[in-house]
Symmetry: C2
Subunit: 425 residues, 2 copies
């Protein structure tokens, strides 16, 4: 399998391609790309349906899909048009060519790193995870961990690195996905780390990085809610609070790719101290370290004898379930601030759907009926129902899948760009 | 001049047209519309430049601009291609056909209503204003005021109502611009008022309504920042706090057209009481009624002897300038909360530019260097400069101009849609 050279440590090349990251300009999303994305989202879809959904002529769809088939991006698959009736007349549909490429996706986080390998249609081939000691680390330690994890997941998939076309990596914190730079992350000692180019050199593959919450939104766009919805918000609660926003089938990232930092909107002037060094950030009231801070007080644990944060939070949750008023009040307060954060999302973005995601969603106090009722009370009173809230309590595997979707987008957009150049000749 | 019938009290027709309000789908913004918008934004532009900027073939531009000229939307104008050199070789450029249509724009607000009449290129023909007593009013009183104001501004322009093609109206509060309904407004007694259709029947013209802050953003898009920028945020401070967000040359309104309610994001749990009935809204700390509330305390005015709010705020401002510590602390606190609101806009939207607009911008304490410094401290620390902040202290005339831009958009999109249907035949 061929490795795409573009993007390996070449900032110029990255900018030229601009996967997903491009502004929402119509011109940068030509029909070729819209057709490919429609096929990808649908799984299997007849040409006539693509033409209908995109409002273009069947002839245009036929021309462009021929090009996409020639480029190896999509393929014809036989399907049963009328399987319900039992007559099962076979028909030709289009699907993404699964074997065209394989990519890896990786989630870097505080307590473990997770990786997946998927095919070009996003199907899981293998996954693996390695634990780590929480806290910031050096770039070299991170690269070593990424390399170890990559080799392990490759071994599981019986593939070599050279079989992969790209790697997508999700990192918590402030990430400029276009330039491939981690501006700040709770897991790195240094600021302004050019992780994409450094990791690309180390791993010998194109590497694309993004904020981890953006990648959960991307996973939803590719494999979840995005199959039916063009616009939705994803709010993640884990070690921090994150947000991703999908608008017109694309991630909205902001003018410098630094938007959607819901965890750091201020919900209290001169409020609680946040990991980022500022005060009053939403995540300083809602994220797991905020709960843990109060738990050490409530459960009478000193700093030295406090267990790891996971154990601490499980214990706090058990106490709350057993009726401990203080433990309950900790979750209750976090839930109220979460309600503030969610109502602010509603009041500003008016999303068609909010998906709550992340491991902490298992603490159902966070989204108990009283939290949702409070959110309703804080959202503007328009007399209309609030947007639906869905809870997707998926773990790190989904996040890694989102990172793989980033790699898939990059690969497919490079191929589409190449395809466009050939077509223009 | 012909009056466009569509939209007069016909909700179905409104939905079919969907000016500006359409989701940001590429498909609903065909090349015809992009070319028209490019010409409109540029003022005067040669065909070859349109082709270059939109990245399409000069032949496509020639075909489509011929259709647009035939439909009376644009016209050829003679220009000097090289006027700097003095040789002034004449060349043909395209411009919007100024005389094609005239529309009215109206801003409904707490203390006065303002109206303008503009030509199809947005040039001012006449303006007028009528004062009003603050507070909520009945729908009938509002309609009467609108009719009076419309007739006055028509008389100034030496035009009759029948010479106008549409009216755009900006209303404070929660407005569904697509359905033409005011869900809640501080200036109306009732909720869920179908203002667009009722006013259209009363005035005999198509009426389009929107939230007033959206219309300031639309004015910037048509006549200001939008001529060079595709993405920016506008924050307005007057009797309330509003926001408009331009993304890819369009207003972003949200899935139910109820987004961007910056004035009602919660900046304090269980905080100060807002006009909307909720607590802790940003505008309950920053808007003029919030300042006035504290001013009556600071300046020892009882409820009965307090002067009108404008006089009260001027007096507070004078005291602050003269060094009165309490008066200063009122502006200082409002400025701090404004910093919270603006930092939240930065942290979520990462805009390329923030424009602060509205009459209250003359209270420079609100955006004094310490407010901007506080905003910097509350925005996420990425090591990059914050987005530029521009102050546009324009008055009601700009807001009315934005309302006229809404009417112009509606008219041009209807014509473009008709043009498309003819072209498709």
């Amino acid at each position: 399998m061929q490795t795409l050279d573009a993007g390996v440590g070449q900032k110029g090349a990255r900018k030229g391609v601009g996967p997903l990251i491009a502004p929402l300009s119509d011109l940068q999303r030509p029909l070729r790309q819209q057709i490919f994305e429609r096929v990808r989202a649908a799984g299997m879809i007849p040409r006539v349906q693509v033409a209908k959904e995109l409002g273009v002529s069947p002839a245009s769809v036929t021309t462009i899909t021929s090009e996409l088939i020639d480029s190896g991006l999509i393929e014809e698959v036989m399907t049963a048009r009328d399987s319900d009736s039992g007559r099962g007349r076979p028909a030709v549909a289009l699907g993404v060519r699964r074997d065209a490429h394989r990519v890896a996706g990786m989630k870097i986080s505080d307590r473990e790193h997770t990786a997946v390998i998927v095919d070009f249609a996003g199907n899981l081939i293998a996954d693996d995870a390695i634990p780590r000691r929480p806290g910031p680390m050096t770039l070299n330690d991170l690269l070593l961990a990424m390399e170890t994890l990559l080799d392990r997941v490759c071994a599981k998939a019986a593939l070599s690195r050279a079989d992969l076309s790209a790697i997508g990596v999700g990192v918590p914190g402030f990430v400029d996905s276009l330039d491939g730079i981690v501006l700040w992350s709770s897991i790195l000692n240094d600021r302004n780390v050019p992780l994409a180019s450094v990791a690309a050199r180390r791993l010998g593959l194109p590497v694309w990085i993004d904020n981890d919450a953006n990648l959960v939104a991307l996973a939803e766009l590719w494999f979840g809610a995005g199959r039916t919805l063009s616009d939705f918000a994803v709010v993640t609660i884990e070690h921090g609070v994150g947000m991703g926003f999908v608008l017109n089938h694309r991630l909205y990232r902001g003018s410098q790719r630094l938007g959607m930092e819901l965890g750091h909107i201020k919900v209290q002037l001169d409020g609680a101290l946040c990991r980022c060094g500022q005060r009053g950030c939403l995540e300083a009231y809602v994220a797991d370290y905020a709960l843990a801070r109060e738990a050490t007080t409530a459960l009478n644990w000193g700093h030295k004898d406090a267990p790891p944060i996971g154990v601490l939070l499980e214990s706090l949750y058990d106490h709350a379930k057993a009726g401990n008023a203080t433990a309950r009040s900790i979750f209750r307060r976090a839930g109220r601030y979460l309600a503030v954060g969610l109502s602010n999302v509603i009041n500003l973005f008016d999303p068609a759907l909010i998906i709550l995601s992340g491991e902490r969603m298992r603490y159902d106090y966070l989204y108990a009926s009283e939290t949702l009722a409070e959110m309703d009370n804080l959202a503007i009173n328009t007399g209309r129902p609030r947007p639906p809230i869905e809870i997707h309590a998926w773990g790190d595997l989904l996040w890694a899948h989102g990172a793989a979707a980033l790699a898939l987008s990059s690969v497919s957009e490079m191929l589409l760009a190449a395809n466009r150049e050939i077509a223009a000749q």
